[in-house]
Amino acid sequence: MASLIELANPARFMRVSNLLLPWIAGLAVLLLLVGFYLAWFVAPADYQQGETIRIMYLHVPAAWLAMMFYSMMACSALGVLIWRHPLADVAQQAAAPIGAAFALVCLLTGSFWGKPMWGTYWVWDARLTSMLVLFLLYLGVIALRRAIDEPSRAGRAVAILTLVGSVNIPIIKFSVDWWSTLHQPASVLRLSGPTIHTSMLWPLLILAIGFTLAALWLHAVAMQAELLRRRVRTLKILEAERLDRLSLQAAE
């Protein structure tokens, strides 16, 4: 564990991420292009839902990523609270807007899919409501971070809120099994295997990997931006302290 923490130092992260980012971006674009081509021009329309099944190729990866990013934030929160690792705090901070964006995409695409299929944009069933709670948790995490000026205090407060909110992740996943919901049960991530035909499953999986790589690329760029912001802040504070000392010496 100690070597993992040493490996995750900010300077090394900047070096490694600068090397990897172009490759991740290229692979993400390639997979998204192939995935959308298969989803739009090769995969058939659903025998019941017709062409609206095309919304699934956005909705499902967005839902997975919204939950994945929150889980990543929960792991980072442990890094903040247990090891007080600065990179864990940066990772947590950078992940929140990305997870929020995917949660919003999931909610909106779900609404646009729900209206023609269920006859309503929204219903307060367990799956939809728990996903809305996830989106609100993301907003709460972002707001709490902005409400506290001192970064390390903000990091600890956000870490606690993130860990408390992580109870929602299994609730989202199992909501369709625990309660009677309008939302359909899981059809891909099942112990007994996927129930989707392979002609639809492959484009979905390729797009899911493509979106995941794109999201990880965004996360790394956002982490770089945050590391730079913290460096700028530290340098400004050090310079202000130096100028203070000089003015005191001049006064003496």
Binding site: G50, R54, L58, A62, A101, V105, L108, A225, V232, L235
Partner: protein
């Protein structure tokens, strides 16, 4: 194009348009933020402001 998507083409296009707007907006915001921070750091370094340890080594 919408007619090719069947009677619910508007919903499908709306879903794709909303997603494209949200995700491209997010990407642009993150990239602009990184550029702004890089510029701020470059400006400080131009003014000779750096950590004491870095000043010694340079």
């Amino acid at each position: 194009m919408i007619t090719g998507l069947g009677p619910h083409g508007g919903f499908i296009l709306a879903a794709y348009l909303a997603s494209a707007l949200i995700l491209s907006g997010l990407a642009v915001a993150i990239l602009l933020d990184r550029r702004a921070q890089r510029r701020a750091l470059a400006l400080l370094e131009q003014q000779g402001i750096g950590r004491r340890s870095e000043r010694k080594t340079s």
